[in-house]
Amino acid sequence: MLDTTTPLLTIKQLQAWYGESHILHGVDFDVHEGEVVTLLGRNGAGKTTTLKSIMGMVGQRTGSVRFEGRELIASAANQIARAGIAICPEERGIFASLSVEENLLLPPVVKPGGLTLDQIFELFPNLKERLGSSQGTKLSGGEQQMLAIGRILRTGARLLLLDEPTEGLAPVIIQQIGKTIRALKEKGFTILLVEQNFRFASTVADRYYVMEHGRIIDQFSNAELDANVEKLHDYLGV
């Protein structure tokens, strides 16, 4: 499938550092409107750092991050969020000093067009039941993950960065997360996903990029997945 439209997100020659350590060595890829794109790769390949670099959450970054035609490489994280990108971090980032409701309502609305609370509860019925819970971190791992995804759906951000949303969760919860991602795609969200678990990724993704040593080393579409399974096993060392 040839997509001639301008990508929603274009990453070019992205390099990133944490203090002295150079993590990303020139990452190039793009994400089109309405796609679910997955970054695959071993631990330490730079997937999480790529998401954090897009969001402006690393110490230093160079190259180009273009979103809706706007260059964001020089912008601070809060400005990038206001441009319409939202992150669900790997550690989920539920705040212990905030109630479940406060956690859910924390990210400010940056653009019109976000989901309403009722739409979020439709995706995550459990959240509605736990709304009265006094401490966000008292929820189960699965509920915390739903809260971490749910709270960024209100903001009107069109591009969601999801960092290993299935990590450490039971199979039934993983299925629910998969269902949610497909539902979000139907609602028009664009999703950049980081996953170790490519079996899960294959149920939601349109395209894949494979990372190693802070670079993109391969890419293929979901249709090409079967032909690439051998190679993928090699890349991921599974």
Partner: protein, 295 residues
Amino acid sequence: MFEIFGIPSNALFGQLLIGLINGSFYALLSLGLAVIFGMLNIINFSHGAQYMMGAFAAYLMLKYSGLGYWPALIIAPLLVGITGVIVERLFLQWLYKLDHLYGLLLTFGLALIIEGVARNQLGSAGLPYVVPDELRGGQNLGFMFLPNYRAWVIVASLTICIATWFIIERTRLGAYLRAATENPALVRAFGINVPRIITLTYGFGVALAAFAGVMAAPIYNVSPQMGSELIIVVFAVVVIGGMGSILGAIVTGFGLGVVEGLTKVFFPEASNTVIFVIMAIVLLVRPAGLFGRRA
């Protein structure tokens, strides 16, 4: 006149009142310290000097522009708060990633400079500041005489403390503050300008100190060392309440003021040390403080 445990009631209630007054200042000052420490991770040693700045601002406003107590109660905290914002932008913002010691040393040095300048310009003798006309006189409650100004100080301090607690624990802005205390990077990635919130928090904490300073002016006189005398006790209050705990700062502030007052009645020799004795015991039994979260 009646007696309680062999103590005349007016002496007891008199000391209780003094305790509540002192407690009002302990609470306001330790509240500011707690807010600042929670958000900036800085132990603001210049808090006492900033309290003194508030009192001096009120004194100078009256002397040179005829602005009385009530305008001073608003303008002085605003002005001193602005100096706090400048200090945060110029100096403190570079220290957050370093050890606590650096922030402590910087603010301690700042306190010495502020006090030195005040002593140089205004002398070290206490300057009187009159009680505003509206609050002269007092009420005879039968068992004791309650000066109006002192009643006002207690009510005003309690109001400010409760309002601050409410903002931090019960509002959207407070949720941002609490979340940014836990994980500033993520809160920023949600689109909130965390550095600006940090700057304003310092300005607010400093303004609280200046507000206390204006309120203290008619009671304790205005002198360059008025802050450094008080701040040592306030730090003990903060340690007992638990660093960074808002509720802890308020409850411990008032509570220890009262304890100190009662000690003056029952065992006057210990009244200057009782707070430090309590601090030592709390540090032994609950090192994180009475209201502190586990470190």
